[in-house]
Amino acid sequence: MDLQTKIENNAIIVTISGRLDAVTAPEYEKKIRELIESGNIYMVVDFEHLDYISSAGLRGLLVMVKLLNAKGGRVCLANVNENVHSVFDMCGLTALFKMENSVAEALAALA
């Protein structure tokens, strides 16, 4: 898993690539926690290059939502591919996450 960040329109765009699974989820959670603790509470997570997600990855995302909610922040996911989306569906989490088709749309949704 690789994680890149950049700031745009007062939000942080987190681009994640590779896999979000039992091996990589702890690292994801740690980095996201650091970002939120340093004040980045409006977040777009770009999944364009995320190939795979498991329940371990979903747990990392749930932690992210919980931390942001506690700080009055928000998150929007962008470019969620079909395989990854199907895992959200299976777990009934699709409604819990705001999802948009592009980073631009996600930024707009947060504005």
């Binding site: 699974d21 795979y52 498991s54 329940s55 371990a56 395989n83 299976m90 777990c91």
Partner: protein, 365 residues
């Protein structure tokens, strides 16, 4: 007619066939099926004495053919063989291929041998090719000539060693229909074949060979519809499997993923199926993780090409325990994914092991 007892064959230290005991009765059509390299062709070659068995006996109509005083040439006239690679004489015409044996070995007149040869060529639908040479014929036509040549010696039994393996699919049918006709006419035959539908239709009895033994034998209805033994079932249903053993919580998930992906690629399973399998395996491993300090877990993925059925089996050592019933799961996300990916989940305690069997949803294939 043919009685085989405790027949074995070794090549150096390699045992290719061991303790084969069976009988072929007059008028019987016996198909010999099984994976490659399990001794099927060796059995036929031993019957025809192209290979000399290392142990055991073969009696044909009461005559011990392994007795050094037995006239091997005479035995071969009674029991002729059709090979995968036709083995026609390329410098002789089709007619000459059929007449050389009867003239030289049976003392038949040229005229009588030619008349018989033409009759047999008509039987296999190749009378108009009598003056052609083998290399002017297709593979299917060459094999039909080889069958007619075999018949020209008026054998009591014909041994077929994978008669259609060297043919392209379009030519298989023409050869099989000739063999079917011989079966209808009551010819005694032993046929090594990979053509399962053919073996089912044409045989009175089927021998399933595996690891050098007759692993299971019975009527075609038993072998093809209700095989009694595990390896026969796996072969008939074309089950291909991959097994991985995990004996520590520090397993290498990515190495395992690479092997599962390679398995899916080999079976030409859709990419989505591969994705779901990786997901299922990861979720299961997460559930098993607390137990992996003390138990050994075998994960098997089994795909039946024939039934288009994909199963995942987790077999673990240790006390009776169904991990997915465990109330200590931190949440039900993993279990929810597992239930979504599978059609059925069965747990049973078998041979002192815990066995969890998952049938993966077919709409995912």
């Amino acid at each position: 007619m043919i009685k085989i007892e405790h027949l074995s064959k070794k090549f150096g230290d390699l045992i290719v066939m061991k303790d084969i005991t069976t009988e072929i009765k007059q008028g019987e059509v016996v198909s010999i099926i099984g994976p490659s390299g399990t001794g099927k062709s060796t059995l036929l070659r031993c019957l025809n004495l192209l290979e000399i068995p290392s142990a055991g006996s073969i009696h044909i109509n009461g005559i011990d053919i392994l007795d050094k005083n037995t006239d091997v040439a005479k035995i071969r006239q009674k029991m002729n063989m059709v090979f995968q690679s036709f083995n026609l004489f390329s410098h002789l015409s089709v007619l000459e291929n059929l007449t050389i044996g009867p003239i030289n070995l049976k003392g038949m007149s040229k005229q009588a041998a030619q008349a018989k040869a033409l009759e047999l060529l008509r039987l296999v639908g190749l009378a108009e090719k009598a003056d052609s040479y083998p290399d002017e014929l297709s593979g299917g036509q060459q094999q039909r000539v080889a069958i007619a040549r075999c018949m020209a010696m008026e054998p009591e039994i014909i041994l077929f060693d994978e008669p259609t393996s060297a043919l392209d699919p379009t030519m298989v049918r023409e050869v099989l229909s000739v063999i079917r006709r011989l079966a209808r006419e009551g010819m005694t035959m032993a046929i090594v074949t990979h053509e399962m539908d053919f073996a089912r239709d044409v045989s009175n009895r089927v021998l399933y060979m595996d690891e050098g033994i007759i692993y299971e034998e019975g009527p075609p209805e038993q072998i093809f519809d209700n095989p009694q033994k595990e390896k026969t079932r796996a072969f008939i249903n074309r089950i291909l499997s991959y097994t991985c053993r995990i004996s520590s919580p520090d397993y290498d998930l990515y190495a395992m993923n690479a092997e599962i992906e390679a398995f899916c690629e080999k079976q030409i399973l859709p990419k989505k199926t591969g994705y779901n399998l990786l997901l299922l395996v990861e979720e299961l491993l997460q559930i098993y993780r607390p137990f992996l300090y003390t138990v050994v877990l075998d994960i098997t993925i089994a795909y039946s090409e024939k039934k288009e059925r994909l199963e995942l089996i987790c077999e673990s050592t240790g006390e009776e325990l169904n991990p997915i019933d465990n109330e200590n799961l931190t949440d039900d996300l993993g279990l929810t994914i597992i239930r979504n990916l599978t059609e059925s989940i069965d747990y049973l305690r078998l041979n002192g092991k815990n066995r969890l069997q998952f049938l993966i949803k077919t709409n995912l294939l």
